[in-house]
């Protein structure tokens, strides 16, 4: 089948998509967007988190056919058009929240979603928001730091305009 949808603001088309293919597979293997990761492909790790119509979802759990005509935003679409890193991306690098980085794309989308809704999240709120994203390297301490740092730098109004 053919699937047509918007990815990071651009209309894209994938041909010869099999019934069983996930959105994650189509992004990674058919559209040249491997930023979203494939750590489990069973909805347990969050490494594949993307926005689907502005709601974070596990791309590995979304059948490709389901995104027909809809809008997807991946880690590759977080930075602005001017190539400036988003404050969340910037904070992850600055805080040392990136080691191997395999969890990072999914965490960035989840954290991005948190701080645009709540730019003063408590620690408990950060933990709750990121509970679906596994990281095996950092023990999460520096991820906490990164989200606190990002929240401090984000003003909700500028985020909404994106």
């Amino acid at each position: 089948m053919r699937v047509t949808f918007t990815v990071n603001g651009e209309q894209r088309e994938a041909d010869d998509v099999w019934e069983g293919e996930s959105l994650l597979y189509v992004l990674r293997e058919r559209l040249g967007l491997p930023g979203s990761k494939n750590a489990c492909e069973q909805g347990e790790c969050g490494s594949c988190t993307v926005y689907l119509d502005d709601v974070p979802v596990c791309a590995c759990l979304v059948a490709a056919g389901q995104v027909q005509g809809r809008e997807v935003r991946t880690v590759e679409g977080l930075a602005g058009d001017d190539e400036q890193l988003d404050p969340v991306q910037e904070a992850f690098v600055a805080a040392g929240a990136v080691q191997c980085g395999f969890c990072t794309p999914g965490l960035l989308v989840a954290a991005h979603d948190l701080v645009r809704r709540n730019n003063q999240p408590s620690d408990a709120e950060i933990r709750e928001a990121l509970a679906g994203n596994l990281c095996r390297c950092t023990g999460y301490e520096k991820i906490m730091d990164a989200v606190r740092l990002a929240a401090a730098r984000v003003t909700p109004s500028t985020e909404d305009s994106k």
Binding site: W18, G20, E21, R28, E29, G32, L33, P34, G35, S36, K37, N38, A39, C40, E41, Q42, E44, C45, S47, T74, V75, E76, L78, A79, L85, Q89, E90, F92, V93, A94, G96, V98, Q99, C100, G101, F102, C103, T104, P105, L108, D123, A124, I126, R127, E128, L130, A131, G132, N133, L134, C135, R136, C137, T138, G139, Y140, E141, K142, I143, M144
Partner: protein, 770 residues
């Protein structure tokens, strides 16, 4: 980092004329790519016209293969190749140091998940379906699953020399010594998985010269190259490896997974072949942490001084050798922990069984032993009415002391200091704030308690780990460095084969060059086999050994630059220094810009660095200088336990570690956080459940690793007591924090519940006794 202790004078004063050098925490060179989603991990690779490989694995832990029928698989449209052991071009055998594992099984399988056949097809799903159509007829054999029985020589041999991989004895002092008080304990450790997030994967591209280029996530390019070339029947130079992005490793990528398989398929089809395991296959695709059984007897004087330790330690290596001999060495030589003991008798066995193969995982050998000896120290403290910190301080090993192997510790060993500092770190408030936030309770948002039945406990533990490869292994790394003028600026390119797996070695290499040469612009070349062996990214060794190699090549390059300068400036090469892109004399007077000295010249050198030699220990007595360096870390855990439901919430986990020199403080602390988290996982949740040789939980649904809700806040206190034998005085960082975290948490749960808890991971039923 809350504390610094100054390095010894013997460490060279480092240049401060450049930013981003040693001791700072500059940004990772791969950080921006990683947050943009543009860093190419091994599973992200793509090639025009590429095929997908898939693996057929044995469903049985032990069986004879009677026949393999490929007909249906070959008939599947879209399939390009179906290969078995008959298609292995070279020797059908591999293994880290002791090759004993077939690339593809011949007539017998020894574990569930052993590779039997391969498929290449134009779509991953086609490849998987074709794999399902291969018909293998097996005759099942009874599996050997009991490690203690295997050590005793019971059961059918799985390999020609029987089922004992290694039996190592440590004998010191009087093995029959007696003491005022004695405590005994039996302990057990479940099988832990590395659970790195990036699945085993890579891309093999056939080359025109009949060779192959392999892009892969691994911990050690050159040892892979050697094994792959041997299995393909190709000379080394025809098997070229490049490190693809690695999504974590923790030991699980030290052995081969898909490397030979992808190359076989690529050479057979003449097309690039990509292989990516899914999570379930990953659980079968790499070795795990050795499960262990430990029997300890500790004797002490009435005032709490250790008199003797006797132990028997069994480690289940599973079906093939992998790193088992080294795991045995660590568990045995470090088996009494960081304590002074005059009389020691330790027997340690590593065995073959039909359980999943076990090999390297962060802290191997030392992790298992520490759960045993630290549980014993607490038992002894309790028996004597002593404080757990006090008994450890009382018996702590120190510089100048002798290990049970006879090796004298010749660099700082601040074990007592670690314990004292740990005790001084702030505690969380004792009284909970009202109203209770259930997210802080055991069970969390499952809303199982608001504090009823919840008891707090505090536990301490300390551990010891050997850093770098031990027992006479020729352990070295190679670094190549090129310095030239690029765009009017001095620039350096540093090239090694040492695998970056997330830990931040790429940053450390840049930092070393900046500090040594005063050149700010340092590029890290891709890691590949066109430069000499970098050794393994394991044993906490890369900053030490590859860092040492980069420092050494910097010194050589610096000398070459001074010779150039001498020629151009008419100044002798002695007494020159490099700082901030300038050549200066001893008093700091600028003599020339480095760019002018370099002109159009390119200075390139390659150096090999070795740490000081080690020696094999005597197999009957365990005596010998087996280790290069020891690393120490200590943890304090504070837990809340719901004693009715058996649920545990780790409230706080604090760590004090000596790192000799914090090369990159942010990365050092990151290693301590991550290592502690893996120790927490082993303490309360992580276990591959194996029943009759079969894995019951190969998924992240059933094999749980700590989430952000499971991890507590940590206070980390880093000491820097220089090791005079090591580059910059540094001490390997990665493994020690994984060792003491587990026993500290279990000690805290014991303190809260009064239960003996002789096994990890601790499960709710161990707490409730139901």
């Amino acid at each position: 980092m809350t504390q610094r202790t100054s390095a010894r004078d013997s460490v060279r004063e480092l240049s401060t004329a450049v930013t981003g050098g040693i001791g700072e925490s500059p940004r990772r060179p791969d950080g921006t790519l990683k947050v943009r989603g543009e860093f190419a991990y091994s599973s992200d690779l793509w090639h025009e016209d590429m095929l997908w490989g898939a693996t057929l694995r044995s469903p049985h832990p032990h069986a004879r293969i009677l026949s393999i029928d490929l007909t249906e698989a070959l008939r599947t449209p879209g399939v390009y190749a179906v290969l078995t052991h008959e298609d292995v071009p070279g020797e059908n055998i591999y293994g880290l140091e002791h090759p004993d594992q077939p690339v593809l099984a011949v007539d017998r399988v020894r574990y569930q998940g052993e590779s039997v056949a391969l498929v290449a097809a134009d779509h991953p799903e086609t490849a998987r379906r074709a794999v399902a159509r291969i018909k293998v007829e097996y005759a099942e054999l009874p599996p050997v699953t009991d490690m203690v029985a295997a050590a005793k020589g019971e059961g059918p041999p799985l390999h020609p020399d029987g089922n004992v991989v290694r039996h190592l004895k440590i004998r010191r002092g009087d093995p029959e010594a007696t003491a005022d008080v004695m405590v005994v304990g039996e302990y057990e450790i479940g099988m832990q998985d590395q659970a790195f997030l990036g699945p085993e994967s890579g891309l093999a591209v056939p080359a025109e010269d009949g060779g192959v280029d392999l892009y892969v996530a691994t911990q050690w390019l050159h040892v892979d190259q050697k094994q792959v070339a041997n299995a393909l029947g190709l000379p080394l130079e025809k098997v070229r490896l490049t490190l693809a992005g690695v999504g974590g490793a923790f030991g699980g990528r030290e052995d081969l997974s898909m490397q030979v398989h992808a190359c076989m398929l690529a050479l057979h089809t003449g097309k690039p072949v990509k292989m990516v395991y899914n999570r379930e296959e990953s659980f079968f695709g790499h070795v795990h942490r050795h499960p262990a059984k430990l029997y300890y007897e500790h004797g002490a004087t009435k005032d709490g001084r250790l008199v003797y330790v006797r132990a028997k330690i069994y480690l289940d290596g599973g079906a093939y050798t992998s790193s088992t001999p080294a795991v045995v060495a660590n568990a045995a030589t470090l088996g009494v922990g960081p304590y002074r003991v005059d009389n020691v008798a330790v027997d340690c066995w590593g065995v073959y069984t039909n359980n999943p193969p076990c090999g390297a995982m962060r802290g191997f050998g030392a992790v298992q032993a520490a759960f045993g000896y630290e549980s014993q120290m607490d038992k002894l403290a309790e028996r004597l009415g002593m404080d757990p910190v006090e008994i450890r301080v009382h018996n702590a090993i120190a510089e100048g002391d002798t290990m049970p192997t006879g090796q004298v510790i010749d660099s700082p060993a601040p074990v007592a200091e670690l314990m004292r500092r740990l005790r001084r770190l702030p505690m969380p408030p004792e009284n909970r704030e009202e109203p209770v936030d259930i997210r802080d309770m055991p069970g969390g948002v499952s809303n199982t308690t608001h504090g009823e039945g919840v008891v707090r406990g505090v536990g301490y533990a300390v551990g010891i780990k050997n850093i770098c490869f031990s027992e006479g292994f020729d352990d070295y790394s190679t670094a190549r460095l090129r310095v030239q003028t690029v765009g009017g600026e001095p620039a350096a390119l540093v090239h090694t084969a040492a695998a970056e797996v997330g830990q931040g070695l790429v940053t450390v290499k840049q930092q070393v060059v900046r500090s040594e040469l005063g050149i700010e612009r340092v590029t890290v070349a891709p890691m590949d086999t066109t430069v000499g062996n970098g050794g393994s990214t394991s044993a906490s060794r890369q900053t030490y050994v590859t860092g040492g190699a980069v420092r050494k090549v910097c010194q050589t390059v610096r000398q070459r630059i001074f010779e150039l300068a001498a020629r151009k400036l008419g100044h002798g090469p002695d007494g020159l220094e490099l700082a901030g892109g300038k050549v200066v004399d001893a008093s700091g007077v600028v003599l020339a810009d480095l760019v002018d000295v370099l002109g159009d010249d390119v200075v390139e050198e390659t150096e090999v660095y070795r740490h000081r030699p080690t020696y094999r220990v005597d197999s009957e007595t365990g005596q010998g200088n087996a280790h290069v360096q020891y690393g120490f870390a200590a943890h304090r855990a504070i837990v809340d336990v719901d004693t009715e439901l058996g649920l545990v919430k780790v409230v706080q986990l604090d760590c004090v570690q000596d790192v000799g020199k914090a090369m990159n403080p942010q990365a050092v602390v990151g290693q301590i956080h991550g290592g502690s988290a893996q120790g927490l996982g082993l303490a309360v949740m992580e276990e591959i459940q194996v029943v009759d040789g079969k894995v019951r939980n190969p998924s992240f649904t059933d094999y749980l690793i700590p989430t952000i809700l499971d991890m507590p806040p940590m206070t980390v206190d880093v000491l820097e007591l220089a090791d005079p034998h090591a580059p910059y005085g540094l001490r390997g960082v990665g493994e020690p924090p994984t060792i003491s975290s587990t026993p500290a948490i279990v000690a805290a749960i014991r303190a809260a519940t009064g239960n003996a808890l002789p096994r990890v991971p601790v499960r709710p039923e161990h707490i409730t006794g139901t």
